[in-house]
């Protein structure tokens, strides 16, 4: 099966909150689980060393283990979420764990690109909006990708920027490799030019 994401127009959920800043991809999925050759099944190791107690049971101190966070598919996280390694296993693990959108006031570049290519919405909002969302876990949000808005329960909304191409790909489930393959003539012309110049 080719890797085309399902079209995604809305994410509608209560929020779960991880206030920590700089949640790196080693915390999202520790390196010892990277020996897989699959994309699937990483959800049970998502936040592995944070989420489980020593006896393997759920650690109640981990915010996403609290009853009100169960079933939430929108994660509000502290600044610079997803920093560190380029492992795409991080968005794979989050998606498999049930997260469909991550909101922060800063998201690391490689993680953000990887997330969007897998249909995991990665949204950057202003510091003030971010602070409000951090302080109000469990808020029911409706993210509208076409509009670029996050609707709040009181009728208010937060606007967010999303690159036009990423938006198009999310909404239509566009396969980016297919798009690149269509550029084959231009790529060949570029290679020809480059070889002539060398």
């Amino acid at each position: 099966m080719s890797q085309t994401t399902r079209p995604l127009a809305y994410v509608h959920s209560r929020t779960a909150v991880l206030r920590d800043e700089n949640i790196d991809t080693d915390r999202i999925i520790p390196a010892r689980f990277l020996t897989t050759t699959e994309r699937t099944g990483l959800g049970r190791h998502c936040f592995q060393d944070w989420r489980y107690a020593a006896d393997g049971s759920d650690d109640p101190a981990f915010p996403l283990n609290q009853p009100q966070a169960r079933g939430c598919s929108i994660l509000v996280a502290g600044r610079n979420f997803g920093c560190g390694s380029s492992r795409e296993h991080a968005p794979w693990a989050l998606l498999d764990y049930g997260i469909q959108a991550v909101i922060s006031n800063e998201i690391a570049d490689i993680f953000r690109g990887n997330a969007l290519k897998n249909g995991l919405l990665a949204i950057v909002v202003s510091d003030a909006e971010h602070r409000w969302l951090l302080d109000n876990p469990g808020t029911e949000l409706r993210i509208d990708i076409a509009e670029g808005t996050i609707r709040l329960p009181d009728g208010g909304s937060i606007r967010f920027d999303l690159d036009a191409f990423s938006r198009h790909c999310l909404l239509n489930g566009v396969d980016q490799l297919g798009f690149l393959l269509q550029q084959a003539d231009d790529i060949a012309a570029f290679e020809h030019q480059q070889e002539k110049a060398a």
């Binding site: 080719s2 920590d20 800043e21 080693d26 990277l34 560190g84 795409e88 690159d163 490799l177 790529i187």
Partner: protein, 471 residues
């Protein structure tokens, strides 16, 4: 044409299609480096679509992350940490055969960490675009190549099309004036820079390191600096090519030869940023003020000079980091008891790093109770070190001399620390659990790491340098 930066020139020279409001640009990739961890799903993608690798001649693979650093046992079997690790390596071996890609594999005298072995064989040239499914790809920026890490989906894009969809990042100049003091290394410099601009300070930017302190660095030192650009959030870090670069590269296996070399050098000389070129951001650093530097927290931006007090936590999140590290605000990191010392990685696993560590260890002993691993970055580094007898210095001091690989930097091959142990590491990340669940990492230079091994506590290498040691 208006004055352009090195980054502008690299970017412009690789535009298959310029970006528009609605679509990113199509960026051509000259060199694609591949390793076992981030490639299997990408090869699967090609297979499922019936695609070939577009340019096997521009693709080079190695084995480094999941590989054991202990030699094969009496049965000839390599001591893989897990069956999955062994299967992952076998998967890459099968994929390169099926798709016709060169592999620096187990039988190759060139195998090594992708960012050590790639430059060593001369695959990395100034002016190139280089990607790898590995965030430390920024290392190759030391040659004046635009080099950055990508995810596995993009690994598939490059395998199939030799291109990526990209929007142009912003530029950020880091000017480093003055000269580093004795005992202060390129590692201390980059740790200091990350501490200064912050772990997210480079997000959305490509860094260019300039100034007299940068020009004075060797190629190996420049690679150490560029390697950690990602630890400040920047995907790439650049240093303009110069005579140091050309001298290092000339004659290497995959470097241009003869007339092609002369033409290449002539082109490479046009790459440095033009006079008056503008950057989106700039910062100035005084190299002469930098001390041996170490991390004290759980990300590479939490850096202090080795004798400076650990800063007080600004909030609960920072306090959590100090608690994890079991360090106390107001006290320096120097003097903290050490359990493990790791010398190696794509940051500091090159010959000059091993020489620096050996100079401290020669005639001395690793302190009792301290475990020290020395892991060369590649087979070439290993051979050169052994020819100089460095392995004997390490072994005589009580350290383990291992086979090349990423080893304890990412700790996915079984080389790891136990919960609570303090590791002084020459690698690049001190995240929680990076070197084993509950392990506490202090990032440092090879000099600091070696001095700490001898002292059994985090130590200033200048206490050991230029001192006669009784034979």
């Amino acid at each position: 044409m208006s004055a352009r930066t090195l980054f502008d020139k690299l970017w412009d020279a690789h535009q298959v299609k310029a970006e528009t409001e609605s679509t990113p640009g199509v960026l051509y990739i000259d060199l694609h480096l591949v390793h076992e961890v981030t490639s299997p799903q990408a090869f699967d993608e090609l297979r499922s679509r019936g695609l070939r690798v577009r340019r096997p001649d521009r693709t080079l693979a190695t084995l480094d992350h999941s590989t054991p650093t202990l030699p094969p046992g009496a049965d000839g079997k390599r001591p893989y940490y897990t069956k999955e690790a062994e299967a992952q390596v076998a998967t890459l071996e099968a994929n390169v055969r099926e798709f016709g890609v060169d592999l620096m594999g187990w039988d190759s005298p060139q195998r090594g960490i992708v960012h050590v072995a790639g430059p060593e064989v001369g695959a990395t040239h100034p002016g190139m675009t280089i990607v790898c499914g590995d965030s430390h790809t920024a290392t190759h920026g030391a040659f004046g190549a635009l080099a950055f890490g990508i995810g596995t989906t993009e690994v598939g894009h490059v395998l199939a099309t030799q291109c990526l969809l990209q929007r142009k990042p912003k530029s950020f100049a880091i000017h480093v004036d003055g000269a580093l003091q004795a005992g202060v290394t390129a590692k201390d410099l980059i740790l200091h820079i990350i501490g200064r601009i912050g772990i997210g300070g480079g997000t959305g930017h490509v860094l260019e390191y300039t100034g007299e302190a940068i020009r004075a660095l060797s190629m190996e030192e420049r690679m150490t600096v560029c390697n950690m650009s990602i630890e400040a959030g920047a995907r790439a870090g650049l240093i303009a090519p110069d005579e140091t670069t050309f001298a290092w590269l000339e004659g290497r296996e995959r470097a241009p030869k003869g007339d092609a070399w002369d033409r290449a050098v002539a082109y490479w000389r046009t790459l440095p940023s033009d006079e008056g070129a503008r950057y989106d951001r700039e910062v100035r650093i005084d190299a002469s003020a930098i001390q041996p530097s170490v991390t004290y927290g759980t990300h590479p931006g939490m850096v202090v000079p080795i004798h400076a007090p650990v800063p007080a936590a600004a909030d609960a999140i920072e306090q959590r980091a100090l608690d994890y590290m079991k360090v106390t605000a107001g006290k320096p990191i120097a003097g903290e008891a050490v359990d493990v010392v790791f010398i190696g990685s794509c940051t500091n696993g090159r010959l000059s790093d091993l020489r620096a560590a050996a100079d401290i260890l020669r005639g001395r002993q690793v302190a009792e109770g301290v475990r020290m691993l020395v892991v060369p970055g590649s087979e070439q580094v290993r051979r050169a070190a052994e020819q100089e007898g460095l392995h004997e210095v390490f072994r005589a001091a009580g350290a383990e001399w291992r086979e090349p690989g990423c080893s304890m930097c990412i700790a996915m091959n079984g080389d790891l620390a136990q919960p609570g142990q303090l590791v002084v590491a020459t690698s690049n990340r001190n995240f929680e659990g990076r070197q084993g669940k509950g392990a506490r990492t202090v990032l440092a230079s090879p000099l600091v790491a070696a001095a700490s091994a001898v002292a059994g506590r985090v130590a200033d290498p200048r206490e050991y340098m230029n001192q006669e040691v009784a034979a």
